[in-house]
Amino acid sequence: MADTLLTLDDVAVHFTVGSTLKGGIKTLRAVDGITLDVRPGECLGLVGESGCGKSTLALAIMGLLAPTRGRVVLDGSDLGQRSRLETARLVQMVFQDPYASLNPRQTVRRTLADPLRLQGVGRAEVDERVMDMLAKVGLRPEHADRYPHEFSGGQRQRIGIARALILKPKLVICDEPVSALDVSIRAQIINLLLELKDEMGLSYIMISHDLGVVEHVSDRVAVMYLGRIVEQGGWQEIFEDPRHPYTRALIAAIPDPFHRAAITAKAKATGEIPSALNLPSGCPFHPRCPLKAERCVAERPMLEAVSPAHYAACHFRDRLG
């Protein structure tokens, strides 16, 4: 199909943990049956709390983890059928921590030039593209020969973005790109990411727990909980008419000095996120859900349509809203 760039078809990533000597081997279902697509030029927001599997899913899309089940189809062909060099030209990642994700012993020039050289780009073109990329992310030519420690956090994240974009990939996975940055720097980076997306015709998967950021940048949003998507839809549907109690709890949890009050305190989740090693029966959200009923303990709700492009995995999806 030409109108999707990335298609995930029932993708699962399971890990085996433990040993036969200590309590037996268990299966950790980090990602458990995700079906999703990303269209060209689109930004998909991926929301969820720690342990929900969003970063594992990102690694599977990058081809860095082999899925236990399901297919990852990128730009028309299966990820497993491509070489690493080919995959690198298609999909790249921007990481959360710009202090940990840049090699401290490499100058910016080398960090940006190495991917091009590996792809066989000639020397003159490498220089030109590095300089061009630096300008695009708002760094000056003289920055090319400096080392990461000479930059502030915001500038480092610009370098991280330049590295991700230097091969002109089609899809960029941004894993919490601003949450390690100072509050006053975040707007610069969000604006830059959006500008570059339009300029270079990129698609993004924006992974974040910050719903304000996700609403601002996303065209569509998927909400993950314990390895599965619990709600998916256009940004307006997710934020204006959320149908899964977990989505509502996430929105209700945001401190709101303006008392937006569309979603009240009653929507808040209680208790802690269960372990993915020991999933609750039925709906995995039921132990924390304000709407829990008997049916939720026994029967797992499937992701079903609320409206044509809006899906929620809740028995009561039609009662909310």
Binding site: I185, N191, I254, P255, P257
Partner: protein
């Protein structure tokens, strides 16, 4: 008008460097009334956490107190001895830190760590103290506290550990709870629960809170008054609702405007976020005049030359800006 519970006056904290000493915090003053929640907001390096450490008497080299007074309930404590401060901490001042795993003793069951508070500060017997520890865990909504008191910190989730920290901090009914980024390490839905819990317990016991965070929204929601710090100085202090609705300092205005807010896009469509130009200055190179001037859209010559003082706003509150009018 009763005297405030905590008064910090003209606090100056020095950071000793290799060659020179720098003022990490300068001229910081604020008051917290009994039972009042007060917020201190700023980015990393602005001096908010070391201000809290100074109140607790926990400054260590290379940081030192270089001036100012800290008055707790009428008593000056800035020069108190280590032993006196130890008696105050835990009894009169409770503390919660960002990362509960590093603040709890990994080798001791959590019940024992809470019970220790009653033994040390109230002379309780260990038996009685353990019973009270169980009750304290029940108050912070830890499920099955009779079993949990025997758990070690690593057996608990992050949210549960922070509940244990709150139980410890509030065990002896302190007058003041200092919470330094208490929910930054937690997930958002757990954060909401912990904040509600802190607010509920403190208002039930009449405990004042000094809440320290980088998250203006979180603080404004919970506190009556909020002070914003930038580069070692308080730049604005206002009641919480006013600081969001009418921020007067260009830095606060930038913070309020620069973050995408939920619901904005639906109302107004996607607007380009307002950026605060530049970066936070390093402590060794604070600019002259107003420390925000290199990043300020409204900066003029006077801002580059003369450091502004905190001036009172007609509607209450304080702002440190030459052009606030």
């Amino acid at each position: 008008m009763t005297a405030p519970l905590l008064r910090v006056e003209d606090l100056r904290l020095a950071l000793a460097g290799d060659r020179a000493s720098h003022d990490a915090v300068e001229g910081v003053s604020f008051e917290i009334g009994r039972g009042e929640a007060f917020g201190l907001v700023g980015e990393s390096g602005c001096g908010k956490s070391i201000t809290a450490l100074a109140v607790m008497g926990l400054l260590r080299a290379p940081l030192s107190l270089a001036g100012g007074r800290i008055v707790l309930d009428g008593q000056e404590i800035q020069d108190a001895s280590a032993a006196e401060m130890r008696r105050l901490r835990g009894k009169r001042i409770g503390m919660i830190f960002q990362e509960p795993m590093t603040a709890l003793n990994p080798l001791s069951p959590v019940g024992r760590q809470i019970a220790e508070m009653f033994v040390l500060h109230e002379g309780a017997s260990w038996n009685e103290a353990m019973d009270r520890a169980e009750e304290a865990l029940r108050q912070v909504h830890v499920p099955s506290p009779e079993r949990r008191i025997r758990d070690f910190p690593h057996q608990l989730s992050g949210g549960m550990r922070q509940r244990v920290m709150i139980a410890m901090a509030l065990a002896c009914g302190p007058d003041l709870l200092i919470a330094d980024e208490p929910t930054t390490a937690l997930d958002v839905t757990v954060q909401a629960e912990i904040i509600d819990l802190m607010a509920e317990l403190c208002s039930a016991k009449g405990t004042a809170i000094l809440m320290i965070s980088h998250d203006l929204g979180l603080v404004a929601n919970m506190c009556r008054n909020v002070a914003v710090m930038y580069a070692g100085r308080i730049v604005e202090r206002q009641p919480a609702d006013a600081i969001f609705a009418h921020p007067r300092h260009p830095y606060t205005q930038g913070l309020v405007d620069s973050l995408p807010r939920l619901g904005e896009r639906a109302k107004r469509g996607r607007q380009k976020l307002r950026e605060i130009a530049g970066v936070v200055p390093s402590i060794a190179a604070y600019p002259s005049g107003c420390r925000f001037n290199p990043r300020c859209p409204a900066a003029t010559d006077i801002c580059r030359q003369v450091a502004p003082d905190l001036t009172a706003l007609p509607a209450g509150g304080l702002v440190r800006c030459h052009h606030h009018g």
